[in-house]
Amino acid sequence: MALRKARFRQLKDQFAGRLMGALTIFAVALVLLIALALLMRARPLLDIKPLGELLTSSDWHPLRGEFGFWPFIVGTLCVTMLAMTLAVPPCLLCAIYLAEYAPHRLRETAKPLVDLLAGIPSVVYGLWGTLAVVPVIRDVITPWAGKHLGFIPLLRPSNPTGYGVLAGGVVLAVMVFPVIISVTEEVIRAVPDGLREAALALGATRWQMVKGVVLRRSLPGVIAAIVLGFSRAFGETMAVMMVVGNVPQIPRSLFDAAYPLPALIANNYGEMMSIPLYDAALLAAALVLLLVVLFFTLAARVVLLRAVRRAA
């Protein structure tokens, strides 16, 4: 009797193990599943037009069956690159400060605040963008740039509404702050203390130590943190869509409106079932988005894993 019970318990354990293993494999394979599902739905379009043509064509006329992603890809890249340019310097300085300079208590207060920034929903960022960022760009920055910097093509005040690449870049920059700061801080803190002490013992100032030893040592990790921020920014949808203007064109100036890829998907989901091939095109856009983000995240994660293992 007791033996039978023990056998039953073991069977139960084995069965649970199998079930959990199956669930784990599902979770591990989910990325592939997503990619495959999107690919299947995008097939009707991909069968007619090769992906390369879709990516490089600028003709976006869904009713005529022309789906060129080029303006949207350029729009995404412009907004993302601007966001990274704005975000990276303060984020690195912030992370260095938190990891190397800040007294314990300041660090303990600042970290939850950074987490809080990460927790704010993207529509709230978007609302902040429309209420606070866009008016400043419209009423202050655009007129000022027009008066003093209008001769530079990149700063031509071509769009008086304030909704455009600059607004998208600013909002997105704030959104990636927490990603870059927390990952960078972690990598910097993983640098062994012995190295710091050696540098200080040689008479280096704290900053010289940071610059010459800590940053050099953690460089791969820092780059990975930036790449993670980039891929987060690349796929961000709602906040950007609310401030970027959504005009399908290739932006020529910081003030021009753009139309990023995620916004294209989100804005047109309503009518996509009523126009032939439109759904295939939008899901192909989602697939492109996924592949780009996948490539960058995977590269960054592999570098990060190596960096942590080397430090340990």
Binding site: D13, G21, G235, P262, V293
Partner: protein, 281 residues
């Protein structure tokens, strides 16, 4: 002394960066409170949209508040029952270190997948299953979005369980499953709750994934198979209208959403502090 001057300059820049980062947080919260609070009223919180609501007439966003709570709780629950076994498996069942590495890497990658892609995937799933935009569809998409967050958070608390505790359990003849359910879960209960709260907070704020899958409605959520409203989309749609009164309500909706997210994030933090005191170390 050049090197000390350089140090000072950079410390100044670092402090300035801290001010920028913390300042943006304050700026965002202040914007939402200052613009949202005047538009907030009891009616907003306790009524569903009435006729002419979107032209500025009577009504509230109770549909979106309850809808968001239903979506996020359902998704968090579903995701929990998916991710707890995964964490158990990675922590207690498998001995294949390479598989564990691969699994963690792929979960990390999953974490980076944009929420609009989850929405698009959820949409293809729903086409496959013959579902229309509904509470169930939104729950599925959000649950998948929360999966990597939950697995990571659960795994993190589970690694804190002392090795000896698991060994003692095995030494008493308990199987892995019994150890997992009776020892590890009890030992990590506060951490699990924190993980759930974190996932809930992420789920309730996400708009792009429910846009495709949950739809929108002026009614309260009653059925898994009917469309459901959500706070992020309430903000988005109301902000898109030309009527000033309705736009004001978008600010109030954003305030409600922000307050919910803040409460969840703060209670998660407090819980971690309170409840870890009684855990065996």
């Amino acid at each position: 002394m050049g090197k000390h001057l350089e140090e000072r300059i950079f410390i100044g820049l670092m402090v300035a960066s801290m001010v920028i980062v913390v300042g943006s947080l304050v700026f965002i919260l202040a914007t939402v409170v200052v613009r949202g609070l005047p538009a907030l009223s009891l009616a907003m919180l306790t009524q569903v949209p009435r006729g002419g609501y979107y032209l500025g007439k009577e009504g509230g966003i109770l549909n979106a508040i309850t809808g968001s709570l239903a979506l996020a709780s359902g998704a968090t629950l579903l995701s929990f029952f998916l991710s707890l076994p995964v964490a158990f498996y990675l922590q207690l069942f498998t001995k294949d270190a390479r598989f564990v590495h691969l699994a963690r890497l792929s979960l990390d990658v999953l974490w980076g997948v944009p929420s609009i892609v989850y929405g698009a995937f959820g949409f293809t799933l729903m086409l496959l299953l013959g579902l229309r935009a509904s509470l169930l569809g939104g729950i599925i998409a959000l649950a998948l979005l929360e999966l990597p967050i939950l697995v990571r958070a659960i795994e993190e608390v589970m690694t804190m369980v002392p090795f000896e505790l698991k060994e003692s359990s095995y030494a008493l003849g308990a199987t892995r499953l019994e150890t997992a359910l009776r020892v590890v879960v009890r030992q990590t209960a506060p951490g699990l709750l924190t993980a759930l709260l974190l996932a809930f907070g992420r789920g309730i704020g996400d708009a792009a994934s429910v846009l495709f899958t949950a739809g929108y409605t002026d009614r309260l959520p009653t059925s898994l198979l009917r469309p459901v409203a959500s706070l992020p989309l309430a903000v988005f749609f109301q902000l898109g209208t030309p009527v000033p009164e309705v736009r004001e309500r978008a600010y109030a909706s954003a305030l409600v959403l922000t307050v919910i997210v803040l409460i969840i994030s703060l209670s998660a933090r407090l819980l971690t502090r309170r409840l870890t005191r009684h855990v065996v170390r």
